[in-house]
């Protein structure tokens, strides 16, 4: 396994897009983790004489309507984004993994039932469902995560099911079965390692989507509690005061674009490396 990882990382290091992606992601993670150390100001401190300040040596990305330092708030927002993103991806990934393998291995009727279940979940337009559910649940990160999990695990389920199904009938699995390998051995030694490739590609692609949903919900006022410096809240403040300052919108959108760019490139680089058949040719 360590040999495999070594070569994978080695191969990624030779792909300029992958390197760029990893640099972006690493920078964002470092900034989110060490937000308190890097931030020039307390993200709640109001500088009432410097409201709507443009970027300057004093306030790198300007200030908002309450005179709070935008850069410090975006750093804090990175924490929220990563927390929500990672938690939601792990939970929906695990649910999808289990349900997908059940669908792939189970009897035909169960497979069909689960497929129908996945299709039904995908029929909900994400943000509209988020609005509908958020109104019924208390406002907060937990609600955001629940909504995101509901709307994204079906995708994992489908991918894992397809992969499992194609492996189930492959010759080496049939040979293992014929030799009397236990169900557990087949699942953990053969199916799981082969499912993980596409699974991680999907996870890398899905993470920025999740982060965007969180920002979107916070923008709409159904995400994080008021006062929490999510990227979406910063954008919302910018939208409310678009005629006073363009800087809140400009700097609030940037980290979202960077996150998406970084993880999309990473996902593509992973796909190129793990699954050459899907190579896009770029």
């Amino acid at each position: 396994m360590s040999g495999f990882r070594h070569t994978l990382i080695g191969r990624l290091a030779r792909d300029p897009l992958a390197v760029m992606a990893i640099v972006i992601i690493a920078a964002l993670v470092v900034m989110a983790v060490f937000a308190d150390l890097i931030a020039p100001y307390d993200y709640t401190a109001m500088h009432m004489t410097d409201r709507f300040a443009p970027p300057s040596a004093e306030f790198w990305l300007g200030t908002d309507n309450l005179g709070r330092d935008t850069f410090s708030r975006l750093l804090q927002g990175g924490r929220i984004a990563l927390t929500v993103g990672l938690t939601a991806v792990v939970i929906s990934g695990l649910i999808g993994l289990v349900l997908g393998m059940i669908a792939g291995f189970g009897p035909r009727w169960l497979d069909n039932a689960l497929l129908f279940f996945f299709d039904t979940l995908r029929a909900y337009p994400t943000i509209i469902l988020a609005l509908a559910l958020a109104a019924l649940m208390p406002r907060g990160l937990t609600t955001v995560i629940v909504v995101v999990v509901i709307t994204s695990f079906a995708e994992y389920g489908r991918v894992v099911r397809t992969q499992t199904l194609s492996l189930k009938h492959s010759e080496f699995i049939l040979a293992e079965r014929a030799m009397g390998a236990s169900f557990g051995r087949i699942v953990f030694h053969h199916i799981l390692p082969n499912v993980l490739g596409p699974f991680f590609i999907l996870a890398a692609m899905n993470l920025p989507v999740v982060i965007t949903i969180e920002a979107g919900m916070s923008f709409l006022g159904v995400g994080v509690p008021p006062g929490t410096p999510s990227w979406g809240s910063t954008l919302k403040d910018g939208f409310d005061h678009i005629r006073q300052t363009p800087w809140l919108i400009l700097s609030g959108g940037l980290p979202l674009i960077l996150v998406t760019l970084g993880f999309t490139f990473l996902g593509e680089a992973l796909r190129d490396q793990l699954d050459p058949r899907l190579r896009s040719g770029r």
Partner: protein
Amino acid sequence: MIQYTLQRVALALGIVFVAISALYGVMIALPGDPTSVLLGPRATPEMRALFREQMGLDDPLVVQILNFWGRVLSGDLGTDFFRNRSVATAVMNALPHTVALVFGAIFWSATLGILLGAFSADRRNSLLDRVTGVISVAFIAAPSFVVALYSLLLFAVTLRWFPSIGAGEPGDLLSRIQHLVLPSLAIGLAWVGYVARIVRASMLEAMGESYIRTARAFGLPRRRVVYNYALRVAILPAVQVLGVGIGGMLSSAVFAEIVFSRPGIGTLIYTSVSDRNYPVVMGAMLVAIGFFVTCALIADLINAALDPRHRKTQ
């Protein structure tokens, strides 16, 4: 083909039925008094009583859900107690705006996406191809509500090329279209990237096919083979992706409508959620999901119709 169509329609109906029933069930079964959960603190006791009676809240859950569908099938989506109108009216007033927005977005993504994709497949590995590749990813990477905000800021507030608020004067087509340009582009931009990439990839695949070589061997000009033969096959997956993409576009439409202060399903749901006006939320959800599933179904059927291989195998 007929059997295939019937199968797809049945599946689509099943999905809408289960999706809406589940949502309705969750809504009713939530802990607490449904009338206060669903109507919020502003509701008067009379409104609560009327609501309780209309919805048959004392019946078992399954009966309530079936009754709900009975009402829906007779065209009754419930009552907007706060504004004293039927939910169906509210939704039907909003729907055309959202449909126009989504189809505007599809227009952008189909035209720009297919053009970019076809050009870059035709000139593979050229500068144009590489630039298109990067632009496509950048488009995909830009979240639609950030694009909406940025384009509002740049084109409407700073440059003032396009109006920033509303859906335009009723009856004035030009004004309507002017108001549609920015929001539909904001929604469609990401899909321009997707479509360009899919068209490029499937065109390159098609150009490796044997029948393309046949056409070239019979002296058909390269241009004609690329744009007439390969593109025709390559558009099929793009249609499918756009059909499924309408779900995502509906989500983006919520932001576009709010950012550009347009009327529509998104705005309706958003204000109803803020007002705790749940009957309207429910009705609008039903219509939004129905619209999405219908579009995905139509895309599927168009695909089957355009691809003669489908007719026999299905």
